[in-house]
């Protein structure tokens, strides 16, 4: 590297450190969002240039002369050498879900600082390393999945544990994202109509693609997008119509039941009819909105209204209870480190990579971009007035159901807000009320609408942009729900097939319907639990999801550590061992507190005891259900802890054997084959 480049990188690293220091220490005036952007961009650039390159060259020894699975096993379907940037976009579209958007919005209750630092540092040292390493390991093993690698590298126990953890995570993931949609749509005729309209639109797209214009997916998605925009505009008319508005103004329970029925139908119907066209559309909308949000933030450069740290770092937060450590680190999973990414990194992506060196930009780089999306979500939440942010996100069970009570409680916390201010804001976005719209989606939509409206359209379009943002979030959440239910159904049918063969046939309708019903009942139960929860459900379900997701990351890092140990012994172990140690500490601390904390706001068992005491005074069936649910959540959390403790203990046994030399485990890579593609190029 020449002197000029040394200077350039010194400036980039210096700008990153200066911006990061600035947002951490500056307290005298509002911090502009551009500081967060500069801090994140410079840290990512420096990490990508130096840390990712170090791992690629020294640790993985990526070699473009070695044929990748895409070349060796090329079949025109899954295995296909593909342009680096196309794989990058494909991988990013696959890993980007609602997690990096919702998590930072919820964690903003601590202020912008803890979440921002975790998103940047967590991604650079943990999340991106995990994604990169699992992608590398899978690429060197013919595109094997995380479960297969866990079984081969660690043992049968490791493989089974990974599978069981994935099933449990899916159950809680589907419930929590469905709850986010329910809370965004409840009482909103405009939003409910728009989302309901996406279903016939998806069916029209499915028929268009199947019979009218087969193969024209881009054309069909463009038609679908225009129809969705028309549905947003029509949603305003519906909301203002005295005859139609009541039909689409639904309560949380009615919406939850509608989503459960939808999940069942989508899982049982042919994929081409509803699921696939919706998925195509949501992927394009998702990528477009991410670009729009980045441009909007750069154009508007809004000040952050939330402070760097709020009083709720002490654990008394209204959105979810628990101190900044460990709860900030499980609330933000996908923007910093997400176990689910390891399933994508060992899924389609390793089968598309044409040169080994591309794994760096695809694995490490995509995660940095996802982290940047999380930073943008944090900005969108923090541009709201703190009083407004808490009025939208705090559950009625804490601040009170009446607007006067809610604003009095929130103002008493030091975040002034008035009922008139909230009413005016609700009117601007075409909603009846914005109080206690928990789940993160409405406050994110408010922040995005503010940024988009300032970029173009002004106040007149705030309502449109708010509902556009709600549509964008709900669209890909519903895609996760129907795809997840379907995958759960396959897994269940696979298991049931061992008991009775017809049950395992995915074309046998009674088996399909029965298995779909069981899976939907599983996540539907948790969804109903969330709807009935007086504190809004997000308070208990999101931490459970965060713990589950981070525990899956711990499993992926166990696999990664085993691979590094087999390749280099102790030399580079710190690369995965450091984030693994941090994740294990964070998730075990969080899970332990969620089960055993004596504070009913945090500990499930303490919550059950408190409810039991209340029930002795006023017996009711509803309280009995809440007690059962609190204990069920404690058991769920406990099962997750046992699963990860098992794989950790099994990994430690394997590592000790390798280090002592009592275990001869060769690196399980596919044999080296010279790349013909590389030879043709050179």
């Amino acid at each position: 590297m020449g002197l000029l480049w040394v200077l350039v990188w010194a400036v980039v690293a210096g700008a990153g450190a200066f911006s990061l220091g600035g947002i951490a220490l500056w307290r005298h005036e509002p911090v502009n969002s551009i500081w967060l952007i500069v801090a994140a961009a410079c840290c990512y650039a420096t990490a990508y240039r130096f840390y990712a390159r170090f791992i690629a060259a020294r640790v993985m020894a990526l070699n473009d002369r070695r044929a990748t699975p895409a070349e060796r096993l090329r079949n025109g379907h899954d295995f296909e050498p593909t342009d680096k940037w196309i794989v990058f976009g494909h991988h990013f579209a696959a890993i980007a879900g609602p997690g990096p958007l919702v998590g930072p919005v919820l964690a903003a209750q601590f202020g912008y600082l803890p979440g921002t630092l975790w998103i940047i540092i967590g991604a650079v040292l943990g999340g991106a390393v995990q994604d990169f390493l699992i992608l590398f390991a899978s690429m060197r093993r013919d595109g094997k999945s995380l479960g297969q690698m866990a079984r081969e590298e660690i043992g049968t126990v490791g493989g089974f544990t990974a599978l069981a953890t994935v099933l449990l995570i899916m159950m809680i993931l589907l419930a929590v994202v469905a709850l986010v949609v329910v809370n965004a749509l409840k009482g909103s005729a405009w939003a409910t109509f728009t989302i309901a309209a996406t279903m016939p639109i998806a069916v029209i797209m499915g028929l268009y693609l199947r019979y009218w214009r087969p193969g024209k997916v881009l054309e069909c998605s463009a038609v679908g997008f225009v129809l969705v925009l028309a549905a947003i505009v029509a949603g305003q008319w519906v909301a203002e119509s005295p005859a139609l508005a009541p039909l689409f103004t639904l309560g949380a329970m009615a919406l939850a039941i509608a989503i459960i029925v939808y999940g069942f139908l989508a899982s049982a119907l042919p994929v081409w009819l509803l699921l696939a066209p919706r998925d195509y559309l949501s992927t394009f909308v998702k990528l477009g909105v991410v670009v729009m949000l980045a441009v909007g933030i750069l154009f508007v450069r809004p000040d952050l209204k939330l402070p760097a740290l709020t009083r709720f770092v002490d654990g008394t937060g209204p959105i979810f209870a628990g101190k900044v450590f460990p709860f900030c680190f499980i609330t933000i999973a996908c923007g910093a480190i997400s176990g689910f990414h390891s399933l994508i990194s060992s899924g389609t992506t390793p089968k598309m990579i044409s040169k080994e060196s591309h794994a760096s930009s695809v694995g490490y780089g995509s995660m940095l971009l996802e982290s940047f999306v999380a930073i943008m979500a944090m900005i969108a939440a923090c541009v709201l007035q703190p009083g407004v942010y808490f009025a939208v996100n705090a559950p009625a069970g804490i601040v009170g159901a009446a607007p006067a009570a809610a604003v009095a409680t929130i103002t008493s916390w030091g975040f002034p807000v008035t009922a008139a201010q909230m009413a005016s804001l609700a009117k601007d976005v075409g909603e009846r009320t914005l109080f206690s719209r928990t789940g993160g989606a409405p406050s994110l939509a408010l922040g995005m609408a503010h940024i988009f409206a300032t970029t173009g359209g002004g106040r007149a379009l705030v309502g449109f942009w708010y509902h556009f943002a709600i549509m964008f979030e709900a669209l890909f959440i519903l895609t996760i729900i129907d795809a997840g239910t379907r995958v759960g159904r396959f897994m269940l049918q696979d298991l049931l097939g061992h008991v009775a063969r017809p049950l395992g046939r995915t074309s046998w309708m009674p088996g399909v319907i029965g298995a779909s019903a069981v899976v939907v009942s599983g996540w539907g139960y948790f969804l109903i639990e969330g709807v009935r929860d007086p504190l809004g459900g997000i308070n208990s379900l999101w931490p459970l999801f965060g713990i589950a997701n981070q525990l899956l990351a711990a499993i992926a890092l166990c696999v990664g550590t085993t691979v590094l140990l087999k390749m280099h012994g102790m030399k580079y172990l710190w690369i995965t061992a450091a984030p693994l140690a941090w994740l294990v500490t964070v998730t075990f601390a969080a899970a332990w507190q969620k089960i055993f904390s004596p504070l009913p706001a945090i500990g499930f068992l303490a919550q059950a005891d408190k409810l039991e005491a209340a029930m002795r005074l006023h017996p009711s069936a509803a309280t009995g259900t809440l007690i059962f649910n609190a204990r069920l959540d404690a058991v769920f959390c406990g099962v997750l802890l046992v699963l990860v403790a098992t794989i950790l203990a099994d990994s430690l046994r394997v590592w000790a054997g390798i280090l002592r030399g009592t275990r001869q485990d060769p690196v399980a890579e596919s044999p080296f084959v010279i790349s013909q593609l590389q030879m043709e190029e050179s």
């Binding site: 079949n75 025109g76 379907h77 899954d78 296909e80 593909t82 342009d83 940037w85 196309i86 976009g89 494909h90 579209a93 696959a94 890993i95 980007a96 879900g97 609602p98 997690g99 994935v166 899916m170 993931l173 994202v177 693609l209 199947r210 019979y211 087969p214 193969g215 997916v217 881009l218 998605s221 994929v271 081409w272 699921l275 696939a276 998925d279 195509y280 992927t283 394009f284 990528l287 999973a333 996908c334 997400s338 689910f340 990414h341 399933l343 994508i344 899924g347 389609t348 895609t479 996760i480 795809a483 997840g484 379907r486 995958v487 396959f490 999801f545 997701n549």
Partner: protein, 54 residues
């Protein structure tokens, strides 16, 4: 210009249109509604046997 082409290729990849073109080429068959449905059934069955990321 190159960026535009790359973007279009990315969109076509995400839309499975590139995969369909490869499918036609590998089997040396022309495009037809039946062929698209055959490709689509196989492609989507594999695609939705995997969970989507959160």
């Amino acid at each position: 210009m190159r960026l535009g082409r790359l973007l279009l290729q990315l969109l076509r990849e995400l839309a499975d249109e590139n995969a369909y073109a490869r499918h036609l080429k590998a089997r040396a068959v022309p495009h037809s509604p039946e062929e698209w449905r055959r490709f689509s059934n196989t492609r989507l069955a594999a695609k939705y046997a995997r969970a989507k990321c959160c």
